[in-house]
């Protein structure tokens, strides 16, 4: 012990001490803030074991080890005060940690950052304090083909695909074995959803994470590779820029109405038909089903991209979503078991991992709402006994699509007749197309897809390899689908008329004013 201290004392002068980055933190006030706003998740003792912790994946941070994912310091080093402030201010997207800026005052946030440091002796030991790494600025041309090609080259050569998969959807061969330091299952990040990156989604954020690693997770630091000249700093930037390019430029905005343009040809039945290039993509976030027993707090399908087209007779609906596995996949059974053991539910014990399939459901009311306002709909969560909903359901095994009526989560009655559904799985992405005639004979049960109407629609998703089935699913509330009609030429008549009339009137007014002006001028002369 004495010797350990001796060595520490010897090493202390070698470690650079960072300048104090924030004003003095009042840990007494910080404790009050912590107890009121943070302890519910992070626990009174900071061990990440508050009452809500068992309902979360990822779990809340355990402060006692002073191990932080999002830092500006080298792998394993303590975060700087600025790093802690950033996590508190901005939150950790994709987790339950909200941004506290605007929710707590500047002083409260600063004090609570001071208080969480008291949970670990490392912060008290000044020899452990670390300075932020010196990050270079982002080189230009990051969205160009040459830069992305370099980035992709290093994506392959440094083995990113081992966990993140060939196309970056977190489906690499090592992904099902991943655990965090506490032994909880952890997903390799889906690099196509940069808006869910814990440390931010910009190329600079990604570069910083590559340099520092994400402590407590399997994500290592790549700084040693620059030191050992395996790659250059610029090449690491290119990698970051390549990763950034996998996600949309901006986080997807949620829009209420899916517009299905009318096309001339037959509506596409295949998910890889070129006609889909003509349809806008709509993003719908899905969240855990926490309304009915058994609730599910860790939904794996975070959202679904929807496209729609129609040809006047048939509607084609294309749904694509990221899923690491083509369930059931025996390689993921162990992971599934760990997820079920980690995330608390309404069962007395964790359910046993089983080879569930992936599933997706699209929901409509049986009939379009009528009458004043026309907004009444069945219950969003799969209808009810007395007011069922009409659903299209797809499963990955057996690979089939059916239409039917759901009367609550528990009851689904298949309707006669096949539903056309075609799905393909490609590197962590499902692409599914449902097609159905706009009008069908069974008008009592099957929604009639009328053009020009707002048709209520909702979505449900299951990832079998995360133990999802039945009520354990990801849900949405009601949105709308609208089948657009092509603009008839008649629509242009009235605007043109209005313009002509306006122009004519304008000219008349001007002429009269000028005549009056001339007359007045004449009188004055």
């Amino acid at each position: 012990m004495i010797d350990g201290l001796l060595v520490l004392a010897l090493l202390a002068p070698l470690v650079p001490r960072p300048p104090s980055l924030v004003p003095l933190q009042d840990t007494t006030k910080g404790k009050a803030v912590y107890v009121k706003w943070c302890a519910g998740c992070h626990g009174d003792g900071g061990a990440g074991d508050g009452p809500s912790a068992a309902h979360m994946l990822p779990r809340p941070r355990n402060f006692t080890g002073a191990i932080y994912k999002i830092r500006s310091t080298a792998s394993g080093q303590l975060p700087t005060d600025a790093d802690l402030m950033r996590a508190i201010d901005e939150g950790l997207p994709g987790s339950a940690m909200p941004a506290w800026k605007g929710r707590l005052s500047d002083g409260e946030r600063r004090d609570v950052a001071g208080y969480i440091k008291t949970f670990s002796a490392f912060f008290a030991d000044t020899s452990q304090h670390a300075a932020a790494l010196k990050f270079s600025g982002e080189p230009g041309g990051g969205t160009g083909a040459a830069a992305l090609k370099t980035g992709r080259q290093f994506y392959d050569s440094i083995g990113c695909r081992k966990c993140h998969g060939d196309q970056g959807r977190g489906d690499g061969p090592s992904a099902p074995t991943l655990k965090d330091d506490a032994g909880f299952p952890i997903f390799a990040a889906d690099l196509h959803q940069s808006w869910r990156f814990r440390g931010g989604g910009s190329a600079a954020d990604i570069y910083h994470r590559l340099r520092t690693g994400l402590d407590g997770t399997p994500m290592p630091s790549f700084s040693d590779l620059i030191d050992q000249k395996f790659l250059t700093d610029e090449q690491l930037w290119r990698l970051a820029q390549y990763v950034r390019s996998l996600s949309p430029p901006d986080p997807p905005e949620v829009r209420d109405v899916i517009h299905a343009p009318q096309i001339a040809g037959p509506a596409p039945v295949s998910p890889d038909d070129s006609a889909w290039a003509r349809a806008d993509r709509y993003w719908f976030p899905l969240v855990g089903q926490v309304v009915r027993k058994a609730r599910w707090f860790a939904p794996a399908v975070t959202g679904v991209w929807v496209q729609a087209l129609h040809d006047g007779h048939t509607l084609a609906l294309r749904l694509s979503w990221d899923d690491r596995t083509q369930s059931p996949d025996s390689a993921w059974l162990g992971f599934e078991q760990r997820v079920l053991e980690t995330v608390a539910g309404d069962d007395s014990g964790p359910p046993k991992a089983e080879p569930w399939p992936d599933q997706l459901a699209v929901q409509f009311p049986r009939r379009l709402p009528e009458g004043s306002g026309g907004m009444e709909r069945p219950y969003f969560l799969m209808g009810s006994e007395t007011d069922p909903v009409y659903q299209w359901r797809w499963t990955s095994r057996p690979r089939k699509s059916v239409a039917g009526l759901a009367r609550g989560i528990e009851r689904f009655d298949t309707l006669p007749g096949a539903l056309a559904g075609q799905a393909s799985f490609d590197h962590g992405e499902w692409r599914l197309v449902f097609t159905r005639a706009l009008a069908t004979p069974d008008t009592a049960n099957e929604v009639q897809l009328e053009a020009g109407r707002a048709i209520p629609v909702a979505f449900f998703g299951w990832d079998g390899s995360s133990g999802e089935h039945g009520s354990r699913m990801a849900v949405s509330t009601w949105y709308f689908l609208a089948l657009d009609r092509p603009t008839p030429p008649g629509v242009f008549i009235s605007p043109v008329l209005a313009m002509l009339v306006t122009l004519g009137l304008g000219l008349v007014v001007v002429r009269r004013a000028r005549r009056r002006g001339t007359a007045r001028a004449g009188r004055q002369r």
Partner: protein, 272 residues
């Protein structure tokens, strides 16, 4: 523009009118939504406000003969003066184009989401059945408040209930922005807002928690609400304790029956 020219404009009735219209627009569109408890003003309402302001301005300028004449000066100048020929032409083209655009927008209607006419605090029933037991809501107070000595215990219990059940939607800050909130429309209730629990009696909140979305009357759009029917999950005491927690954590005080009377069923007056 030079300072004297600015001053001249500031006293000119035409530019005064323009100024008032611009200020009114800024206030209605940008300032009003910033006021606590307000939302973005719908376009149709903005138009109504602007027409009202315009009429007021016209009445003011035409009230006095000389002011009216001065008001018209710049307008007539643009219409008639040869030196302003370019301005005149540009104005004609712009106005014509605008009219065309507006007319097109009117005709080429696209399908929009139907308006969601939703009563946020619908009238509660006088009585509910909680797990087979009848509870009279009218005049009902939080029974846990009758034991002030145990309040800390109840609050701790309520906090646990909140974090285990309510957090994913209503959020760490109780502002309706939990990590599942983005999936729901309407958004989960924001308890920090002065328009939710601050306006309600605890018995109303008890009804909403116990019966959830499915227990809403038609005007509350029960088909949309993701609020669970908590009587399936929580005991009566757990619900009362989490209600205590909601008020304690946000700092609001519940409405009491003395203040609201018994007639409006526990809703805040002047709300909805």
């Amino acid at each position: 523009m030079t300072a004297p020219a600015l001053r001249r404009s500031a006293t000119h009735p035409f530019w005064q009118a323009v100024g008032i219209l611009v200020i009114a627009y800024i206030v209605v569109v940008w300032v009003v939504p910033l006021l606590p408890g307000s939302a973005i003003v719908p376009k149709s309402v903005v138009l109504q406000y602007m027409v009202t302001v315009l009429v007021g301005v016209l009445i003011y300028v035409s009230d006095n003969e000389e002011r009216w004449a001065r008001f018209k000066e710049p307008i007539e100048a643009v219409l008639a003066e040869p030196r302003l020929r370019v301005v005149r032409a540009v104005l004609l083209v712009v106005v014509t184009a605008l009219v065309g655009l507006v007319a097109y927008g009117q005709v080429a209607t696209t399908v929009a989401a139907p308006p969601n006419l939703r009563s946020i605090h619908p009238a509660p029933p006088a009585e509910i059945t909680f797990r087979g037991r009848s509870i009279t809501l009218t005049g009902l107070e939080n029974p846990l408040r009758a034991h002030p000595e145990s309040l800390a215990l109840y609050l701790a219990e309520g906090k646990g209930v909140y974090y285990r059940n309510c957090l994913p939607c209503h959020g760490d800050h109780l502002d309706g922005q939990g990590h599942f909130a983005s999936g729901f429309n309407p958004l989960p209730a924001n308890f920090q807002d002065n328009g939710t629990i601050a306006q309600l009696t605890e018995s109303f909140v008890f009804w909403r928690v116990a019966k959830g979305g499915p227990g809403l009357p038609r005007e509350g759009t029960p088909w949309n609400s993701a609020m669970p029917k908590w009587e399936d999950f929580l005991t009566e005491r757990e619900i009362w304790s989490v209600i205590l927690f909601l008020y304690d954590q946000t700092g609001w005080t519940p409405r009491t029956w003395e203040k609201t009377g018994t007639g409006d069923g526990g809703r805040g007056t002047g709300h909805d």
